[in-house]
Amino acid sequence: MSETDLREELKAPVEPLLPIEKKLIGWSLGLGIALLIVLIAFNHFVPIKL
């Protein structure tokens, strides 16, 4: 890929977000936050032992 190719590509028209991409982003964030809450609760009830 030449330098001009890259520059031209970066100026290309924007591809709109497809529903499947929105779903991927939404599910990832939702699941991630839910799992983090579970892990934080776990961390609270099972503290690190020295």
Binding site: L6, E9, L10, I25, G26, S28, L29, G32, L36, N43
Partner: protein, 491 residues
Amino acid sequence: MSDIAVKASEPALAQRALLNEDWLAVAIGLLVFALALFSVGGVDLLGWAVTTSVYTDIAGALAPVAKAYAPLGGVVSLLLTYAALLLVLSIGVSTLGADVRKFATAFTAVFAIAYASWIVGSYAHIAAVTPAEQQKFGISWSLKLTNEGGFVIALLSGLVIANFFPRFAAWLKEAIRPELYVKIAIVILGATVAVTAAARLNLASSLLLRGAAAIVEAYLIYWAVIYYVARKWFGFSREWSVPLASGISICGVAAAIATGGAIRARPAVPVLVSSLVVVFAVVEVLILPFLAQTFLWQEPLVAGAWIGLAIKTDGAAVAGGGITESLIMAKAATEGIKYQPGWILATTTTVKIFIDIFIGIWAFILGYIWTNHIDKGPDKAKAGEIWQRFPKFILGFILVFVISLWLAVGTTPDIAKALPAAAGEANVFRVIFFILTFFSIGVLSDFRKLWQQGFGKLAAVYFVSLFGFVIWVGLLISWLFFSGVKPPLAS
């Protein structure tokens, strides 16, 4: 898989290669570990390897790691170490299909400059930490970087070469293999981590459980946000956004290439993203450990986890963890607190390895979504890709860790007692591979060239995501899971 400097010749090399970089790292790492284990049985096969002490008189800087080999002297020990590495790595890269003659000449220069940087970093005015050490060396000031400040000097040497001597950098490229060096180092690190863990099994198992938080954060939270930022705010195409989000959120170079391949991006796309990842990793290594020392020295494990979550290449992250450990231990020592070494680095490594393990699965998930919903075509993502994308060097780390842990807690007291010395000899090579990694990362970071290639917009996504989100969320999560937990004190 991620040596940016040698990408251009990859297709031809792939045909000649017998092994890939991951398996080669496993083979060399296991070789070093196996040779070190002989010392448990009383046969010291690696005691001639060179170590560097803090010095004011360079004549006393170098020495063999084992006292039994002391008559060899430092210079002979250094030459033996160089010769052994040259032999093993030359055989190794020949299995990758590389030009061994070119590698050998370039490696000679790489080793010489990188190890010289390490020696400079051990000079007392740079490395001495406590007032007692300064008094011992008869000096009134020092930068207090510990001898691991040599990593930063190796990195700076590489940066100078990349940015001011580009022809020399190009000549070195056959031996500029940061991912290979760091993967070998990580396999060897398994022994040190096991020896450290065996001393405090409860703490070690707690660290492992908390590694799960790193996976959730990197794959489910970072990735989604950065992908959205790249697509919506900066208008990047899907082909660019996937490697970019993976590079910034997961594990830099490896993730950008694995997920780029999974969505069938053109090979140049993840490679260019990888270059950017390396540059930002360099900047982070130069800044974050010092911030950690200043603001997190009272929370050493928060600092270790934070470095693992914030720095996005294996080499830079684990090496950054090493620098952070030395800086925090140095700061704590000046306050009269002496922590057991190894815990901060072990936390960084655990976090990083947990993140690495899931690259294959994430690449498969993206491949499945792309082939079934976005670029529908005859090719479907195959389950075998999970294995194909799995970073195999992690298997080497796990094997070394399990064997070492078994020797430490599951065998006779005599073996358990001899194991730390054996792990220490292997660790000498871990340090040398780290030095080579730092130097190589520097040589790959030609800032001017990247800027000329129109990287401004890509760099803007990286900058906004990293400094606006990744670093702070990483700090918050590290704080939530590790605050209040201190490494054991040295006895």
